[in-house]
């Protein structure tokens, strides 16, 4: 999956320690840096660097839009290989598409494009599904969560990284 950017031991500690619990106070980076035993400037420059190198995809609050009347829904499409680039560009151009992954399965499921729709209202999901279907000419299969059994980021940096 492309080249793995270089991360050193301090980067690892930052990633492991700062996946949550970032302080809300006047100088939060200083407070977080203090817990890590580094300086505020170093923490800021390392976060900046890790964002630029795409070690981090974001740094900030993660919103639970469902608690504010909105919705996050996983959806999938079966995209023919010959039409892949066109459909990919069309789907990714929708701001409601928060993430999109190509997936391939052991059993060769035809559903090979999996994305998450994030909309400000619950009605935004069927509306966006309809717009994507119209724009691509392909059916979209929504898989809304009926129940969540666990959700917690608990990945620590692997030694192999």
């Amino acid at each position: 999956m492309g080249n793995t950017p270089e991360i050193d031991a301090v980067d690892r500690r930052i990633i492991d320690a700062l996946q949550g619990d970032f302080p809300i106070c006047d100088r939060p980076y200083a407070a977080a840096a203090d817990r890590l035993g580094i300086g505020e400037d170093e923490l800021l420059s390392r976060l900046q660097s890790m964002l630029e190198r795409k070690v981090l995809t974001r740094f900030g609050p993660m919103f639970q839009i469902e608690r504010m009347g909105g919705a996050f829904v996983l959806a999938a499409m079966a995209v023919p290989e010959a039409d892949w680039e066109r459909v990919n560009d069309t789907v990714n151009a929708f701001p409601e598409v928060a993430h999109n992954y190509r997936r391939e399965s052991d059993l060769n499921t035809p559903l090979n494009m999996w994305f998450v729709l994030a909309t400000e209202t619950k009605d935004g999901i069927p509306a966006t599904v309809a717009k994507i279907e119209a724009a691509t000419g392909l059916p979209v299969y929504p898989f809304p969560k009926l129940k969540e059994y666990f959700v917690e980021m608990k990945l620590s940096v692997r030694d192999a990284a």
Partner: protein, 161 residues
């Protein structure tokens, strides 16, 4: 966004959805941008955290960059009447980062339980999937594992400003 989310919450989301400012006093920077006091910004963000409107504040790692180069979405067809018990057990496994009950889309998609398994290699993920298979026993009627082979988009939530 519904009435439960007021205008200031909404403006805070728009201002921070791409990330928290990487400056020593980020809440002060947001306050200046939004024309409110830093105390208002901090109190509001604290309240959004407590009410679950913000899930957490911190770093979102690119899991490929931190060594989780294999990311398998295991999907299972289990009896609906057992799914909550089974989903709770699967969700508690330390290598499962997310587990959900989702609707089937028959005939294309017979699976109703989704469990994300991260690992350093495809083999490691498949070994863990076997553990889930063993745990489910006779309750598992069909299963598959979808590996992400490419990130097509990963911007996260984007609501209009």
């Amino acid at each position: 966004m519904n009435a439960a989310t007021d205008e200031l919450d909404r403006r805070l989301i728009v201002a921070t959805q791409a990330g928290l400012p990487l400056v020593a006093q980020p809440y002060q920077a947001l306050a200046e941008q939004l024309g409110v006091t830093p105390d208002t910004v901090m109190a509001r963000m604290q309240a959004m955290l407590e009410r679950g409107k913000i899930r957490r504040i911190g770093a979102v790692p690119n899991h490929y960059a931190i060594g989780y180069t294999a990311n398998g979405m295991s999907v299972w067809d289990v009896p609906d009447e057992q799914i909550d018990e089974l989903g709770t057990r699967i969700g508690a496994l330390d290598f499962v980062t997310h587990a959900y009950h989702r609707p089937r889309a028959l005939p294309a998609w017979p699976y109703n339980l989704f469990a994300m398994v991260h690992g350093s290699s495809r083999e490691e993920v498949l070994t863990k999937v076997d553990e889930i298979r063993a745990l489910l026993g006779a309750a598992c009627r069909h299963h598959d594992v979808l590996f992400s082979t490419r990130i097509l988009k990963k911007t996260g939530l984007r609501i209009a400003g």
